[in-house]
């Protein structure tokens, strides 16, 4: 892509960031957008390790949390007038502390990549999370540490009391950090990180210490994770042990992986999707984490390139202007798949409901009656079980009176589901 195209992409990104609140202006929407901003920076920082560097970490939340705690202490210092600087710099403080932690921990943990590295990060993550409950002075024990963000000097008349003001600050930080992280991938260190990921041995034979290359990526990702933590502190005004623990580390892994490790934009997609699931879906169903788990496992098994990878798979078709040939196959496979998913979700939700009537998409079902179950099971399995690639739909089509020959004639092949 040439320079003009790339520049216009970035300008478009900046404009989108500025303009989004116009379309989504409720308080809930602003809160979700802020969450997304934090998640985007966090997930991108994680991908510096995993997607770019090939280092699987199970303890990345350490830098996020440490950055967050430092940031919230800094906020306290502003609040109690021990220090006086603009609150807009708080994420930077988080970043610097994350960087310091990265330097310290990276000095001994980056010797190896692979399983050993993953285990070290797991152990360290648990260690830090457990320590945070013991070292109450810095980590505030079980209640965490909180502060008020409105005491700093005004920034062009803004005191950051409102959520929307935090959004614009967060958007600015998202833009800056995304640009920096992208530029990093275009530097010698960034490129060598890719090389070390692909073939650490050969990297040594072209003059680079694989360990040092990994160390630099590690420190950089710690910095940006700390920035995300600082932004979190600013947004929520409280940081707790939860922000350091394995669950948070797991969540960022999910975000980066589902979005797509191999593409720069992947973690951004993953962060957005996961934040939406977390905030919106959880209002509709208790089972959203179950769906998340299922989605994650299915992604690992069938779509290891993530959503970004899925989109990029269409690139050659797009370039050759043959996308329209994909419409029919997507319909014949997508619609049955959609029906399967919707019916399964209905069945899962119905089994969990406590009321006498289960209202799904406007249709009332009786959870205790066997008819409801039968209908849902039929709708699920009838059109096809795309995942299993079994000839389930054949009976359904036969029931509808369509013979095999007719199926072949119309070009409908209900029992092969691979677009």
């Amino acid at each position: 892509m040439n320079l003009l195209k790339k520049l216009s992409l970035w300008i478009g990104f900046a404009i989108a960031l500025l303009v989004l609140p116009r379309f989504f202006d409720s308080i809930l929407a602003t809160s979700i957008l802020n969450q997304m901003a934090i998640a985007i920076i966090f997930a991108l920082s994680y991908n510096m390790l995993l997607g770019q560097g090939g280092m699987l970490s199970f303890g990345h939340a350490v830098y996020f949390g440490l950055g967050g705690f430092m940031a919230v202490h800094a906020l306290s210092m502003i609040e109690f007038e021990t220090a006086y600087f603009s609150v807009t710099l708080i994420p930077l403080i988080g970043g610097l502390f994350g960087l310091a932690a990265g330097i310290f921990i990276g000095s001994f943990s980056t010797r190896k990549a692979g399983t050993v590295f993953a285990m070290i990060t797991l152990g360290l993550g648990e260690l830090v999370a457990a320590s945070s409950l013991i070292l109450v002075d810095f980590f505030g024990g079980e209640e965490g540490v909180s502060a008020d963000r409105t005491f700093g000097p005004e920034f062009f008349g803004v005191d950051f009391a409102q959520s929307i003001e935090i959004y614009y600050l967060a958007a600015a930080w998202v833009f800056i950090t995304t640009v920096l992280m992208y530029l990093f991938t275009q530097t010698p260190s960034g490129r060598m990180a890719n090389a070390v990921r692909d073939n650490p041995e050969r990297a040594e034979f072209i003059g680079y210490s694989a360990r040092k290359v990994r160390f630099i990526s590690f420190c950089a990702s710690g910095f940006f994770a700390g920035v995300a933590g600082g932004l979190f502190a600013l947004n929520y005004e409280i940081v707790t042990e939860e922000n350091l623990n394995a669950a948070t580390s797991g969540r960022v892994l999910l975000m980066a992986y589902i979005g797509g490790l191999g593409y720069f934009i992947g973690p951004i997609i993953g962060a957005v999707v996961l934040t939406l699931m977390n905030s919106l879906l959880s209002n509709y169903t208790e089972l959203w984490m179950l769906y998340l788990g299922i989605m994650f496992v299915l992604t690992v098994m069938f779509l290891p390139q993530g959503f970004a990878g899925f989109i990029m798979m269409h690139q050659s078709a797009w370039v050759r202007r043959r996308l329209r040939y994909l419409i029919l196959p997507y319909l014949t496979t997508g619609i049955p798949a959609l029906v399967f998913v919707v019916s399964s979700v209905a069945m899962l939700e119905m089994s969990h409901t406590e009321s006498d009537v289960f209202d799904f998409l406007g249709i009332p079902f009786d959870p205790s009656g066997w008819l409801s179950w039968l209908v849902l099971a039929a709708t699920a399995l009838g059109p096809g079980c795309p995942v299993c690639d079994t000839p389930f739909p054949a009976p359904a089509f036969r029931c509808l009176g369509i013979s095999k020959r007719r199926q072949a004639e119309t070009g409908l092949r209900p029992w092969r589901y691979s677009p």
Binding site: F184, Q186, P188, M192, R197, F205, I206
Partner: protein
């Protein structure tokens, strides 16, 4: 003037001695071939010299300085480049990036995260030039893992020579290539190693006798001969251990 000097080098893996008391001098600027039957320890010798393994005993000196227990990157930085018998490239980077990465250290970029490679004109020019030399200029944006075998071998060679080392070590550079592919590969090797020292492990006797100034014969980890081609060919020990096929190849060439 010996650019590389091995003295009494031995290497044991556990109880098994792979390299036994090898002493060898490579003269600066010469084209030196190492031959021997399979399992003789040729690749191991390469690994010892390039730093992939450490020696059990003995010393290796490059440009007068000991290198025998340094790590690969330290040795490479001193000007010793090598290629691998089993293609060892960066599969997910494209061809251009592969070569460019190989150039980074020698062009002084170190671990910088403040230079944008897109703007580094000299670097990109040199990378393009190298690609032209190895004949992969039109495949510059292919992911390296998707190249055909011979192209991957060419890339392998490109990565090895890109850094501009004074001594280039090639481990079976034409293995698995057809006759014509091998011929053009040898041409390429000759071209890019002009003025440099070349140490090559090869099985194809035609190529060996064609290219080499001196030949070392390694059998069961021991050097049984190290001399100019005519004398090596005439050496009875070598003939008995290894060279029966060589005369035919040479006659057919």
């Amino acid at each position: 003037m010996a650019i590389l000097s091995l003295k009494n080098v031995s290497k044991k893996f556990g109880e098994t001695e792979i390299i036994r008391n090898v002493s060898l001098d490579i003269v600066e600027g010469e084209k030196h071939a190492i031959i021997g039957p399979n399992g003789a320890g040729k690749s191991t010798l390469f690994h010892l010299i390039s730093g992939r393994h450490g020696v059990t005993s003995g010393t290796i000196e490059f440009k007068g300085e000991p290198i025998h227990n340094l790590s690969p990157y330290e040795i490479t930085r001193r000007g010793l480049a090598r290629s691998f018998q089993v293609t060892n490239i960066f599969p997910r980077l494209n061809v251009f990036e592969n070569v460019r990465c190989a150039l980074l250290w020698s062009m002084g970029y170190r671990y910088s995260f403040w230079t944008l490679l897109g703007r580094a004109e000299k670097l990109n020019q040199k990378a393009r030039a190298t690609l032209n030399e190895i004949g992969l200029a039109d495949k510059a944006h292919y992911p390296a893992g998707q190249l055909a075998y011979a192209e991957q071998r060419a890339l392998e060679l490109g990565i090895a020579i890109a850094g501009g080392g004074d001594m280039v070590m090639l481990d079976e550079p034409v293995a698995g290539m057809s006759h014509s592919e091998a011929a053009s590969a040898v041409e390429l090797i000759r071209r890019v190693t002009e003025g440099k020292t070349l140490v090559m492990v090869e099985h194809d006797m035609g190529i060996v006798f064609d290219v080499a100034d001196r030949i070392t014969v390694l059998v069961y980890g021991e050097v049984i001969a190290s001399d100019i081609p005519e004398r090596v060919r005439a050496n009875p020990k070598v003939q008995e251990a290894y060279l029966g096929a060589a005369k035919e190849a040479e006659e057919n060439a």
